[in-house]
């Protein structure tokens, strides 16, 4: 095992020790490593996990009722509304960046390519983890693959695609893992798969991003007519594209702010320009999405609903406040070459995507049931579990960025 350590290890034990320190402790000794962990962020994370992890354990021992407000009328809560329906569009980063780079030839975006792929991979991984919390019998998660084929179900499609795509994303990200492990041959094999995996990613992503919307085609009687549309698969797919571009801006902004020491010069120097480019793409994507939304309203002739108050105002807030407004800010920021403005617009657009998915899956669903609003306020335990999983998500993300060549290139390897 080759390492970058100055002292050449002699025995296997020493060799493992030096490997462990180099790879996992980032070249520090245990005491040094622990000391480096005591930061305000980590203390807050630890507190959240101290409450959240026992709740998750109790959910599996005592039952789902303990950690959800879900009921017979409201079968899905935050786990799917936030974790799956909100998380998956923000995880389109892998497919969008890989397609742009490998297939369409946006070669300038190489420094943030891996960050996009990693964001996508972890996003899908955690969407599945939220799902495992929410499923009544999570140990049967493989059932749609082996036991029973509900081919008429859109969820069957989603299950297959998310499972396959998770694997595809792991392969897409594997060169980074293999470079970290200093592998030569296996990495070469992984790199050879890149184009195939990218095209597989396009197929799987376009299908399941839209399929998540298509799941709601079954509920014309339950979903508010302003959100229900036969175009809902198009809405979901179209919005996931700009969501991905905005999300790459968000993640790269957080990376350069909090993990600057892990970035290389290429990353730091190219990021402002790339951010503007991504912002321009996001703006175009948002205008396209807005046009689809308007076509949707026109198709169902729902214009009269826009002025009906209540849900109409909520809908207008979503469309004008969380799509049009950030789109205009993107446009203005790109025109003024103002990177901060584009970054702000990106955070705004990402919030808007989650807002839309929560509207479809929770807020505008069952809108005609009595006392609807009281039913959808999550209890503290559900919110706590969501926060715990989100915290683990961030910690794992940071763990990888700290160790693997994502924000910087490994000079031992040729770019691919």
């Amino acid at each position: 095992m080759s390492t970058n350590m100055a002292v050449k290890p002699t025995t296997p034990a020493e060799s493992f020790r030096s490997w462990f320190m180099d790879k996992l402790l980032m070249g520090m000794t245990w005491p040094e490593y622990f000391r480096s962990l005591i930061t305000p962020f980590n203390i807050v994370a630890a507190v959240i996990l101290c409450v959240g992890l026992p709740l998750i354990a109790m959910r599996f021992i005592l039952g789902l009722y303990l950690v959800t407000h879900a009921s017979n009328e409201y079968p899905w809560g935050l786990y799917l509304g936030w974790g799956l329906f909100g998380g998956v569009p923000l995880s389109a980063t892998g497919f969008v960046m890989a397609t742009a780079y490998y297939i369409f030839g946006f070669k300038r975006y190489h420094p943030i390519l891996r960050l996009g792929v990693l964001t996508g991979f972890l996003g899908y991984l955690f969407a599945v983890i939220y799902l495992l919390i929410d499923l009544g019998r999570p140990w049967r998660i493989y059932y749609p693959m082996i036991i029973g084929f509900g081919t008429q179900s859109v969820l069957f499609l989603v299950a297959w695609h998310v499972a396959t795509y998770l694997t595809v994303q792991l392969v897409e990200f594997s060169p980074a893992i293999l470079e970290w492990l200093k592998s030569q041959r296996v990495r070469r094999w992984a790199v050879m798969l890149t184009i195939g995996m990218t095209i597989a990613g396009i197929i799987l992503s376009t299908l399941h991003q839209s399929a998540l919307g298509a799941m709601y085609l079954l509920v014309p009687g339950k979903l508010h007519p302003l959100w229900y549309s036969s175009y809902i698969p198009v809405f979901f797919l179209s919005s996931s594209i700009y969501a991905a571009l905005a999300m790459v801006i968000v993640v790269s902004t957080l990376s350069i702010r909090f993990l600057k020491n892990r970035t290389d010069q290429t990353f730091r120097e190219s990021l402002p320009k790339l951010t503007l480019g991504l912002g321009q793409g996001a703006a175009v994507g948002m205008y396209v999405y807005l046009i689809f939304k308007i076509i949707g309203i026109a198709h169902d002739n729902n214009w009269h609903l826009l002025a009906a108050g209540g849900y109409s105002n909520w809908f207008l807030l979503e469309i004008l406040g969380f799509v049009l407004a950030p789109a205009l800010l993107f446009t203005f920021g790109v025109k003024k070459q103002n990177v901060s403005m584009v970054r702000f617009a990106a955070f705004w657009a990402v919030v808007g995507i989650v807002f839309n998915r929560l509207n479809v899956s929770i807020i505008a669903l069952n809108w005609n049931l009595p006392h609807h609003i009281q039913h959808i306020i999550p209890p503290w335990r559900e919110a706590m579990v969501v926060m715990a999983i989100a915290t683990i998500h961030i910690l794992i993300f940071r763990w990888i960025l700290n160790r693997m060549p994502v924000l910087h290139a490994d000079t031992d390897y040729e770019a691919h």
Binding site: I103, I203, L218
Partner: protein, 333 residues
């Protein structure tokens, strides 16, 4: 969903003449049952040549001669005998309040994992002193959204008319609960190891034994009629026609979401007795068919399309490289 194979409920052909496919013969039905699954059957039907249905897989007319129930809301007195009979038949836990306790009517209830059917009370706009009672339970849709939504095929529509749920195939995603337009499937959230959907079974074992459902048998005023769905529709229409002014001219469940095996007649519009009236008259599976039919197109077209785009990119790169080399050579010369 394709044409399901015929179950053991085969009836003489003449009765089936009322269905929309008069030229179908029983022999083929048995043949299909023997060796073809639902999807294959649809394809097989196309091969066997039925010109009027070249899109055979798209249509399922429902089982002929399936059973159903008809609830007459003008007859129901709210005694909750049906709730009691259902509770006993399905061995459900005893309720918090006894079945003769009228205080449960204060709130609008929905079926739960402990009560597969519930009776609700609604104000009668015609006569304030005579409230309307409405029993609700699984309506056993002809093409159920729960079945459509289930990724593991835990639901099936039996030839008897019941929508059957199999807990052995369920992983508890609860999409069926989201999909059901009537808020029927209930889930026992507090079971850590064996959470499952609980809902009305249409007393399938009783029907198979030649009996009627427990609720219909228990009803003291004949508000629940058990019989063949086709005949129930006739009975319902006769009730409406023979009693002018008593009923609204609508059989709820005849066409809602493609038709349900449980039907209702009422003296007041159905939205006043808590039944959704904003549902399409075609089965909900029709809403997703367009999307699902696009899947094979994407699966085949995308690799070709994006593969070509990639090839074009490589081509441009090669051209650029060659041009550069040519220029270099020119410089050398």
């Amino acid at each position: 969903m394709g044409k399901e194979p015929k179950g053991p409920m085969e009836e003489p052909v003449d009765q089936r003449g009322k269905e929309k496919e008069p030229q179908k013969d029983t022999g083929r039905g048995i043949n299909r049952r023997v060796f073809l699954g639902a999807m294959a059957a649809a394809g097989g039907a196309v091969v066997l040549g039925r010109p009027e249905k070249s899109h055979a897989s798209a249509e399922f007319e429902g089982y002929p001669n399936s059973f159903g129930l008809l609830t007459d809301l003008t007859a129901c007195v709210g005694c909750r005998s049906c709730e009691k009979a259902c509770n006993e038949e399905n061995k459900l836990p005893a309720p918090a309040q006894p079945f003769d306790d009228g205080s449960v009517f204060k709130e609008e209830r929905a079926p739960t994992e402990k009560a597969y059917t519930v009776v609700n009370r609604y104000e009668n706009p015609k006569d304030k002193d005579k409230p309307i009672y409405r029993k609700i339970q699984c309506n056993h849709c002809k093409e159920p959204a729960c079945l459509t939504s289930c990724p593991i095929h835990a639901y099936s529509k039996t030839p008897e008319g019941a929508v059957k749920y199999d807990p052995d195939l369920c992983f508890g995603c609860r999409y069926c609960m989201t999909a059901c337009p009537f808020y029927i499937p209930a889930f026992n959230y507090w079971s850590a190891l064996e959470p499952r959907i609980m809902k009305c079974t249409m007393c399938l074992s009783r029907i198979k034994a030649g009996k009627m459902t427990a609720c219909a048998e228990a009803c003291p005023v004949g508000a629940i009629t058990f019989g063949k769905r086709e005949e129930l529709i006739k009975i319902a229409q006769e009730k409406i026609d023979n009693n002018p002014g008593k009923y609204v001219n609508h059989i709820y469940g005849q066409y809602e979401v493609g038709g349900t095996n449980w039907l209702y007649v009422s003296g007041v519009p159905f939205d006043q007795v808590g039944l959704p009236t904003n549902l399409p008259s075609k089965p909900l599976i029709e809403e997703t068919k367009g999307f699902l039919s696009a899947v094979p197109v994407v699966l085949t077209a995308w690799p070709a399309l994006f593969g070509t785009i990639y090839a074009a990119l490589r081509h441009r790169e090669d051209m650029a490289k060659e041009e550069k080399e040519e220029k270099k050579e020119e410089v050398k010369k």
